[in-house]
Symmetry: C2
Subunit: 247 residues, 2 copies
């Protein structure tokens, strides 16, 4: 048994390899979406379910803040909540996501109600919020490092949506444009923090397990979407049915 | 707005209607299983993933006990833990489930390790344990009332497994035989308790919502199983691959 920690470089490479193997850019739903293969209702189902994830991210970050006794760490981390919730009404990532919802023909109030969200989406996302609330801070920060892999998927998404879908324009895809700059800022801090604080081999293993858990949370959301809305589609009882929640 | 509570009879009918509409006996995976249409690997995937649910039920019941200040209610509810964990080594529902695992060619130690369980199974089952830990007692008891609908599915399963699968015999299906008598005893108590304690319309709505939530927990497990292991199968990263964990 080798209980010595990996070097900083090897540990970072280990974390990046988790994304290379398991990040949800490998899921066929994203290929379908980015290639223009989604029907309008499949795009709507994605917007409705992904909204639930967006809506819980600031709650996740608040759960994290509630456990941090260092004002400096809290101050830096707080910008994540501001990015999502905005500094004044009508700003922020969640508002921008609802602009996307409008763009695809959904009533933003319906989307914001979270009615119709797939139960499997709720179970996965709620598991993430609770993970950040309950697990050691190192694991909570490490779980956020899927943002290492996000700029690539956002760039592919912007290009794919603009190329293939009538609803896509700078107003409706504004959410993703902002994430292109927000995510790298957040993750540069998060990665350095994890590399600094994972001192032992056990710490490194826990951080890798947390990042793996987070890739599971993202992958499970796309599996649920595929199972419910892509052929052969089987919508679970109570979940969004095409035609509901239109503007 | 009619805020008066339903009569006891109408409230019970409302709860039973939730099962008639949403219980997982309606899911095509159960039709596939009970009709003999599952491959040996699909049966194994079901046994592995359902084990995770079994394994968390006594933890769920312990979370419930930990919140009950009435010794009488605790004493009655405690029998559920005894049914699953047994009164001595080599007895109880979890042991019987591992006999089924052996019968389908799996290493019981592999199954008991819960390695290979689908992330979506974990998210759904963990959501149930946390629901019972966090929500009002009335909701926690109401969520258990899916057992109202269990004897029918257990009877269908016993007949279907014995008719169609070589592994099925009285030793391997012993888990289901026991549930035929355990579940009605538990649910008779649970139903009476919910009918007695749901005094207001808001109580009744909360109980109905809790039972609906529980049907979502069960349904999501079968959706995940289908998505991963039934054509077109797509096994999520890290989950059980056919050939792993064999005896």
């Amino acid at each position: 048994m080798n209980a010595r920690p990996d070097s900083r470089e090897m540990f970072e490479a280990r974390l990046r390899a988790i994304g290379a193997e398991r990040y949800h850019d490998k899921h066929p739903f994203h290929r379908l979406l980015h290639s223009g293969g989604c029907t309008p209702d499949q795009v709507r189902a994605w917007v409705i379910n992904r909204y639930y994830y967006q809506s819980r991210i600031p709650m996740k970050d608040a759960a994290f803040l509630s456990r941090v006794d260092d004002p400096e760490l809290r101050r830096i981390w707080r910008s994540r909540i501001e990015d999502h919730d905005g500094r004044e009404p009508g700003t922020g990532g969640i508002h921008r996501w609802l602009k996307l919802a409008e763009g695809v023909g959904l009533d933003p109030a319906y989307v914001a109600s979270c009615r119709g969200v797939l139960p499997a989406t709720r179970f996965a996302v709620d598991a993430y919020v609770r993970f950040v609330r309950d697990e050691p801070l190192l694991s909570a920060v490490a779980a956020s490092l899927t943002e290492l892999f996000a700029p690539k998927i956002h760039a592919e998404r912007i290009a794919g949506l603009l190329a293939h879908y009538d609803f896509a324009n700078e107003a409706t895809i504004s959410y993703f444009r902002h994430r292109l700059t927000e995510a790298p800022k957040d993750v540069a801090f998060g990665l350095a923090w994890v590399l600094d604080h994972a001192q032992t081999r056990a710490d490194q293993d826990a951080a890798a397990a947390a990042l793996t858990f987070k890739t599971d949370v993202l992958w499970a959301q796309l599996d649920a979407l595929w199972s419910a809305y892509v052929e052969p589609a089987r919508i679970p009882p109570g979940a969004w049915q095409p035609g509901e929640g239109l503007a």
